[in-house]
Symmetry: C2
Subunit: 150 residues, 2 copies
């Protein structure tokens, strides 16, 4: 291997997103961050991730602006990791993944956690719509490439 391929230059926004959070652990860390976890040890306990890998992922997530490391305590050498605004914008990704999992990855009768609206306690749902409000499915949408010339 000569180093993992980077999609930074890809014209496709999805590809760039995957470049930033597309590895095995990053999105799981982000999920836990949405869930309120902030400390190294909390992520570690929740994920069972190796320490060195967690160190590395937290650092790169901070570098990439998804998390911010906030010094905590007297000396400031302990950190709390919180989602930045950019990180919070991953919310729809998490919801979409959750929705897919709920629909396809649980047996009938098998229980799973549910994302609910805080105000009413009812399940949240995600949909994709055209500007006029019509629901849009995979066949109703098409990718418009950038005009190839300069």
């Amino acid at each position: 291997m000569v180093g993992r391929k980077s999609l930074k230059g890809d014209y496709c926004p999805s590809a760039r997103s995957l470049d930033v959070i597309g590895d095995w652990w990053s999105l799981l860390i982000v999920r836990d961050a949405f869930d309120g976890l902030t400390r190294f040890s909390e992520f570690r306990k929740s994920l069972g991730i190796a320490r060195n890998i967690l160190t590395d992922r937290l650092r790169t997530l901070v570098e990439r602006g998804i998390l911010e490391a906030i010094p905590v305590g007297d000396s400031g050498s302990r950190m709390e990791y919180r989602l930045t605004e950019m990180g919070q914008d991953l919310f729809p990704v998490m919801v979409a993944l959750r929705q897919f999992g709920e629909r396809h990855l649980f047996g009938p009768g098998e229980k799973h956690s549910v994302l609910v609206d805080r105000a009413q306690g009812l399940p949240v749902h995600l949909d994709i719509r055209a500007r006029d409000g019509r629901a849009v499915g995979p066949d109703d949408a098409v990718i418009l490439r950038i005009p190839e010339e300069e």
Copy 2:
């Protein structure tokens, strides 16, 4: 390493989804499949992925029910890989990733492809709503864990 951790038993639907499509290449293959690519060589050219890795990923995506391999041509030894219904349900995940990328991963003035509604040619957007139609952000939602017992 003793084998990569599996999240199959996780109660969290997002985690299970990541278990199925959370590796480096799978979602990129799925993206290309949404984009109409079907053949081994097409994926290979589009992604620059190594042949053996592509072979492996296509196989596991088929095993997991995201893609189906449809024999093509006379002898049926060449395959066309298409999204199953389950695979098509990853559409919101792709749209969410795209939306995140568009918002955060392109410089001002930098162009990117756009997902538009076929009927009107206008950009598609994704939103997360409570049952009553209110938009729901990260702070307005909370994960309801399964009752721990039994």
